[in-house]
Amino acid sequence: MNDIAKTGFLNSSELKEIGRYPSEERMSRGPVAVIECCQNIPCNPCETACRFGAITVGDPITNLPVIDENKCIGCGVCITKCPGLAIFLVDKSKKDARVSFPFEYLPLPEKGDMVRAVDRAGRYVCDAKVVRVNNAAANDCTPIVTIEVPKTLCDDIRSIRRLNLPDEDTEAKLLEIDDWRAEPDDLIVCRCEEVTVGDIRKAIADGAVTVEGIKKRTRAGMGLCQGRTCSKLVSRILGSETGKKPDEIQPDTVRMPIKPVSFNVYKE
C-alpha cells in the first residue's frame, strides 16, 4: 500500500482491496457514485444529500460513508455536497467510460472541449473530451465536469488539468532536473526576481554555500512567492555545482506571513 499520510489519497487498487469501490457489474449498468473518503471525521452531508438512502454514515458520525450500489442512481448530488471533494461518478455502460468529478477552478471547460485528464496525484494521464459541465444553482458553486476516457484508465482518472496554466509545465519540468551542470546560464529559476542559473552560479563562485547565501546575493526567493517556486531548484543547483547531497543542504529560512497578506488583514 501507498503511505496515505504522504500521498493524501487511496489509489484505485487500494479502494478495491478494502471493498470501497463499486463492482464492475454495477459500473457497466450506468453511473454510480465512488466515495473515496478516508478520513474518520465528524461529517455526513453525503448521507443527508442522497434522496435514495444509498449512502450511510450512521452513528458515530465519524464513520466512513458506505454506499449501497443498488440504491444509487448516479445522480451526482452527493458530489457537490462533499466538503472534501472526495466523491466521483464512474460510468462504464458505453463504449468509452465517463468520469464525473467536482471542479472548482475557473475558467470552466465547455462541452466538447479537449482537456488533459489527470490522476489522483494530479499527473497527466491522457487527453479527454468534456461531455457535460453541470454548474446549476443547486450545486452551490461546485461545478461537476464529466469527461469521456478509455475504460482501462477511468478508475485512475479523477480530474483535469486547470485551463489557465501554461501549456508547458515549466516548473514541473525544472523539478525533474537533478543535474544542473549542463543547464544554460540564461535559464530563469526565480521568476519573481528574474534570477537565472548564471546568477546563481556567480553567487556560488562568490562564496555562497547555502540557499540563504544565494538568496542574499541574488534575491532568488525574495519576491512575491517567497521562494515557494524556486527554493527547491536553487538547492538542487547548489547540490549540482558543489557536489553536496540534498540532505546536506539546509532549506531556506521560512518567514511570516508565508503567503502574501494585506496590511488590512495582517493588522487584525
Partner: protein, 387 residues
C-alpha cells in the same frame, strides 16, 4: 594551520568589513574572521538608511555627517559593485501641530550643526507624498545621504577587501584570545587554526561582549530587537524615505506621544524605506530581545501604524517580515575605542546606525592603530566612558 598577520578583525558584518577595508587600504596585512557567512547577522536584518535625521545635536551630529560622507565616498568612488543606492531625500513626518512645533526646534538645531534640512508645510508635503493621510501636519526634509541594500553593500565590501589583499575566513569560530607576556594582544584562537596578530578589532556586534570577555574586557553592548515588514514590489506607496518624528524621540529613549500599550511595550513607530528592488521596508519596533523570530504583536502594531500614515497601504500585500538585533549601548552611541590591552580595539554598539557609521568607524580605528590624528575626537566613543 598557523598564521601571522598585522590585524585580525572579528566579525563579518558592515562594521567588521569596513574595518578590514580601511586596514587593507592602508597597507596592513589583515584577516577578517566570521563565524557564519558575510553580512549574515544584524547587517542583513536591518534597513539601509543613511540620513542624518535622528542624532542628538552637536558633536554626534557632526560625526554622523562625516560618516554619511564616508558611505557616499565608498558607494560612488571605491566599491566596484552596485549597492542599490537611492538618494531621494527624506521626510520626518509630524503627525500633529504640536509635533510640528517640536520639529521646528529640531530643524533649527540641525541647521546650526550644518545639516541640510528645511521645514515642509502641509500643502507641499501632500503634493510630494500624495498617498499620505490628509491630516499629517508637516515634515522636515533632509537631503543629505541616501539608502542602500546592506547585503549588497556588505558583499561589495568583502570583494573590495580581498582585492586590496585582505583575507577573509568565513564559517570560522573564534574560540579564544591570548595575550603576550607584556600584556598586549598576541593570538586569536579559532577552530580553523591560530593566528598571531599585532592588532585585534572586536567588531562582533551583538556578540562583541563574548569576544571582549575572552581577555577580561567588559563591553556593555546588549541586544535590542526590531521588526520590519516588506511590501510586495512595484506598488508605489511613497516617493522617498519617510519616518514619523517620534523616531527621534524613541531613539533617545523618550516616551512616544501615543498611549497605546502595545506601541509602548514594543517601541513601535512608523518608517518606510523604498528599496532598489522596488519593495518598501516598513518599520519600526525597539525592545530588548535575543532571537530573530518576528514578534506578531509588534509587527501587527507596525502594520496598523503604517495604515495610519499611508491609508492606501491597507490593500498592499506584506510578503515577508523579519527581525534583527541591534547592538545597543547604554547611551545609544557607538564604542570605537582602544582598550587597556594594547592592540585590542572595540568597534561595536552602533545601535540602529551601524550601516551609516560603519565606514567612518573603520577609518577611525585604522587611524588610531597607525597613530595618526583621528577625524573626530575619540573621547566620546571611548569604552572607558562606561567605567
Amino acid at each position: 594551520m598557523s598564521k601571522n598577520v598585522d590585524a585580525v578583525v572579528i566579525g563579518g558584518g558592515i562594521i567588521g568589513l569596513s574595518n578590514a577595508y580601511w586596514l587593507a587600504k592602508r597597507g596592513l596585512k589583515v584577516l577578517l574572521i566570521e563565524t557564519g557567512d558575510l553580512v549574515a547577522g544584524t547587517s542583513s536584518r536591518c534597513d539601509g538608511n543613511n540620513y542624518i535625521c535622528d542624532t542628538a545635536p552637536g558633536e554626534i551630529t557632526h560625526t554622523m555627517k562625516l560618516a554619511v560622507g564616508e558611505v557616499e565616498n565608498l558607494v560612488h568612488h571605491e566599491l566596484d559593485d552596485n549597492v542599490d543606492w537611492l538618494a531621494n531625500g527624506m521626510f520626518t513626518l509630524a503627525e500633529t501641530r504640536e509635533q510640528f512645533e517640536k520639529a521646528k526646534k529640531t530643524c533649527e538645531e540641525k541647521l546650526a550643526d550644518g545639516i541640510q534640512c528645511r521645514l515642509v508645510d502641509r500643502a507641499e508635503l501632500h503634493d510630494a507624498e500624495p498617498n499620505l493621510a490628509p491630516d499629517i501636519y508637516g515634515a522636515i526634509e533632509f537631503t543629505e545621504g541616501g539608502s542602500l541594500s546592506p547585503m549588497l553593500f556588505g558583499f561589495a565590501l568583502g570583494r573590495k577587501v580581498q582585492k586590496l589583499g585582505g583575507e577573509i575566513w568565513r564559517f570560522t569560530k573564534v574560540t579564544g584570545l591570548e595575550q603576550n607576556a607584556d600584556g598586549s594582544i598576541g593570538r586569536v584562537l579559532t577552530d580553523k587554526g591560530d593566528v598571531t596578530a599585532k592588532y585585534v578589532i572586536d567588531a562582533a556586534g551583538v556578540w562583541s561582549n563574548t569576544i571582549g570577555r575572552m581577555v577580561g574586557i567588559e563591553i556593555p553592548v546588549t541586544m535590542m530587537k526590531g521588526d520590519l515588514l516588506v511590501t510586495e514590489s512595484d506598488v508605489k506607496i511613497c516617493n522617498r524615505y519617510v519616518c514619523e518624528i517620534g523616531y527621534n524621540f524613541l531613539r533617545n529613549d523618550q516616551k512616544l506621544d501615543d498611549e497605546d500599550a502595545v506601541r509602548q511595550k514594543y517601541g513601535v513607530g512608523f518608517l518606510m524605506e523604498p528599496t532598489g528592488a522596488n519593495n518598501a521596508l516598513i518599520g519600526f519596533s525597539k525592545y530588548p530581545g535575543s532571537d530573530t523570530k518576528t514578534n506578531f504583536a509588534a509587527t501587527r502594531a507596525i502594520a496598523k501604524r503604517a495604515i495610519r500614515f499611508y491609508p492606501m497601504i491597507a490593500d498592499v500585500n506584506i510578503i515577508r517580515t523579519y527581525a534583527g538585533l541591534r547592538p545597543w549601548t547604554p547611551d545609544h552611541e557607538p564604542i570605537i575605542s582602544a582598550t587597556r590591552i594594547p592592540g585590542f580595539y572595540v568597534c561595536s554598539g552602533h545601535c540602529g546606525s551601524g550601516i551609516a557609521y560603519g565606514p567612518l568607524s573603520g577609518k577611525l580605528i585604522t587611524q588610531m592603530i597607525l597613530g595618526e590624528a583621528t577625524d573626530v575626537d575619540m573621547k566620546r566613543y571611548s569604552l572607558s566612558r562606561f567605567q
